[in-house]
């Protein structure tokens, strides 16, 4: 089982304190911008060449059929600057006006997690550290089952084996509309994260 500390530190290096994102200040300018009425979805991962196809399709389907003014925050982990190829690929896609790309610096990640309706995992776009951070902050996690093992999220995520864009889009819509579902996922995320933190603490 990956521990919270090791996973977060693996991505963010020494910037992140051992107790995770809870004590790090969010980038308030970004948070103010993202906390609007329209849905805000978050994707994070080591994305070098572009957003995975299924995820992009799911977001475009969501825009076209569920909520036209939703936004997608893409956080590129593993580098101080987002890769140029990723930026170009996002710029070229049809929904580019509603996609925002940033490097996953701690303050940015914290702002994104606080603003996001859910973290979306896809086979090619997932990051264990960000997933754990989402659980820590009570952000619902949805997406492909192959992107996060049960050991990582437990039952705290809404995961689909062989997730299609339509399934992802429908999940996004349900999470956005269903307060009870969000509550269950949040509670399970908190308890899962607490269990993990206890396990990761050094023995007295």
């Amino acid at each position: 089982m990956p521990t919270m500390h090791s996973a977060v530190a693996a991505v963010h290096g020494s910037d992140v304190r051992p107790d995770g994102l809870a004590t790090i200040a969010a980038n308030l300018a970004l948070l103010a911008r993202w906390q609007a009425r329209a849905a805000c979805w978050l994707v994070a991962g080591d994305l070098r060449t572009g957003l995975p196809h299924d995820l992009l399709e799911a977001f475009e389907l969501y825009l076209a059929r569920c909520e036209a003014d939703a936004r997608l925050i893409v956080l590129a982990t593993g580098a101080h600057e987002p890769p140029q190829a990723l930026a170009d690929a996002l710029q070229a896609c049809a929904a580019s006006a509603q996609i925002e790309l940033h490097a996953a610096q701690p303050a940015v990640l914290k702002a994104a997690l606080l603003a996001a309706d859910a973290l979306i995992l896809s086979d090619a776009a997932s990051d264990p550290a960000v997933t754990l951070a989402a659980l820590e902050l009570g952000v619902p996690v949805i997406g492909s089952a192959a992107a996060a093992t049960a050991a990582l999220t437990g039952a705290a995520a809404l995961l689909w084996p062989g997730a299609t864009p339509a399934l992802l889009a429908a999940s996004m819509e349900r999470v956005r509309q269903d307060a009870r579902l969000r509550g269950i996922l949040r509670e399970r995320g908190f308890s899962d994260w607490n269990l993990r933190r206890t396990a990761s603490e050094p023995p007295a």
């Binding site: 980038n27 300018a29 911008r33 329209a38 389907l61 825009l63 076209a64 059929r65 569920c66 909520e67 036209a68 003014d69 936004r71 600057e81 987002p82 140029q84 930026a87 710029q91 006006a97 509603q98 925002e100 790309l101 940033h102 490097a103 610096q105 303050a107 940015v108 809404l158 299609t164 339509a166 399934l167 889009a169 429908a170 999940s171 819509e173 349900r174 269903d178 009870r180 579902l181 269950i184 399970r188």
Partner: protein, 452 residues
């Protein structure tokens, strides 16, 4: 909520989502969100990619404003603007200013990308190294000589254009100032005149006020004397009331006379109106006749309606024809119907006088003619009463003679929407309602009274 219940709920949610996913693609497409170029303050906060020329093309204040908006996603403060303008004035390259902003702490947090900026910024910074920088600047200046010469020519043209524009502006300004001075002079004269007028008016008001004051005082004095005189004599009070009663009586007579005159005047107006209407009637009738002669479609239209109407009834059926010309009765008679009509004025009275279920058919050719004096629902109720069960009712909006006359005299009824009339028929106990509009577009309806 227990974990078991949560699990059940999650399972239900999963099923819902699977079902929703299957039909998601069939939902109507939403209109694309308006992707405005910026927020309300014009700053494109979501945009993080720029071409270098976008930021270097603006000049002076616009350059500083644009650079801050693009790289720091905010407007510069007054101090920042002054500082950046001072740098520009000192000959600092725009790329260096842009680089300073982009790689400031604030700029790094925002992380905007400007294509081509990193290399230029590096060069600009390298040019600041003491000896190497001097050589580098010299080399760059040498390499840029042809470009500089072209830019100088362009600047000369721009400067000349600027001078010309400034001269034009100055001329326009001088003209404006001259006009303003003329206005000011005339305004001052008008003001002086107004002041003089005002003084005159004020004196007049004062004089009027004084005379009014005198009049009030005189009246008050006279009243007081009268009261004193009345109170002085024992019979004074009684005489006073008698005189007041006389006064009231006189007033009452005057009012009665006034009412009497008013009645006479109204009578005269009525007589005149009638005379005028009587004088108009022949002209209206002549005009209506002329219009009928010009209505080439009338014979075909009425003939077709008469045929359709007759097809609904047995030969010899009794039909009441209202609001139609005499020729309509002939058309019905030719088709074997026992048709009787009514003159214009007693049309509704004729209908009201008919016994219940006494008619096989009722035909109203110029429906608006009746509708101007009788509510349509009442007309339909009367028709339903008069018709036997299964009897036929024809309603049309035809320009029959009397209708034309009423139009000319300005007393025609308003048009009736026949769609609404269909509904009214259905609500009034008619069935088999059918539109039988004529070929020239005149609306008509055929309906049957429902069987009891």
């Amino acid at each position: 909520m227990t974990p078991g219940a949560d699990d059940d709920y999650l399972e239900q949610v999963r099923q819902d989502i699977r079902a929703e996913a299957k039909v998601l693609g069939e939902r109507p497409m939403l209109a694309r969100a308006q992707t405005t170029p910026g927020d309300a303050d014009g700053i494109e906060r979501a945009r993080l990619s720029y071409a270098l020329r976008e930021l270097t093309d603006p000049q002076y204040l616009a350059f500083v404003e644009c650079a801050f908006r693009a790289l720091l996603k905010r407007r510069p403060t007054a101090d920042e603007t002054t500082g950046q303008l001072r740098l520009l004035g000192a000959g600092t390259a725009k790329t260096e200013i842009l680089g300073n902003l982009r790689w400031s702490g604030e700029g790094r947090r925002i992380g905007a990308r400007v294509r081509g900026l990193p290399s230029r910024y590096l060069l600009a910074k390298a040019a600041r190294i003491p000896l190497l920088g001097h050589l580098l600047r010299a080399g760059m200046a040498l390499a840029g000589l042809p470009f500089l010469a072209r830019q100088q020519r362009a600047l000369e043209t721009l400067a000349a254009a600027g001078r010309h524009e400034a001269q034009e502006s100055r001329r326009a300004l001088d003209a404006g100032i001259g006009e303003l001075q003329a206005h000011t002079t005339s305004l001052a004269a008008a003001l002086r005149q107004s002041e003089a007028d005002f003084d005159t008016r004020a004196q007049q008001f004062q004089a009027h006020g004084e005379s009014l004051d005198d009049a009030v005082r005189a009246t008050e004095l006279a009243l007081r004397r009268r009261i004193e005189a009345l109170e002085a004599t024992p019979l004074g009070r009684q005489e006073h009331w008698i005189s007041e009663l006389d006064y009231l009586r006189q007033r009452t007579y005057a009012v009665g006379e006034w009412f009497s005159r008013l009645e006479r005047t109204l009578g005269e107006i009525e007589t005149l109106t009638s005379k005028r209407a009587a004088a108009d009637a022949p002209r209206a009738a002549r005009a209506a006749e002329a219009a009928l002669r010009r209505d080439g479609a009338r014979a075909t239209r009425n003939g077709a309606w008469a045929t359709l109407f007759a097809e609904q009834l047995q030969p010899g059926a009794r039909v009441l024809a209202l609001a139609s010309g005499a020729d309509w009765l002939e058309l019905l008679a030719l088709r074997g119907l026992d048709a009787g009509g009514a003159d214009l004025l007693p049309a509704m009275d004729t209908l009201r006088r008919c016994n219940d279920g006494s008619m096989d058919g009722v035909a109203v050719l110029a429906l608006p003619l009746l509708a101007r004096t009788t509510p349509v629902l009442e007309l339909l109720a009367q028709a339903a009463r008069v018709l036997r069960p299964g009897g036929a009712l024809l309603l049309a909006d035809a320009p029959e003679p009397d209708q034309l006359i009423e139009i000319l005299r300005g007393t025609a009824g308003t048009g009736i929407p026949f769609d609404l009339l269909e509904c009214a028929l259905a609500a009034s106990g008619f069935e088999a309602i059918a539109r039988i509009d004529s070929a020239d577009g005149r609306a008509a309806l055929l309906a049957h009274r429902a069987a009891a």
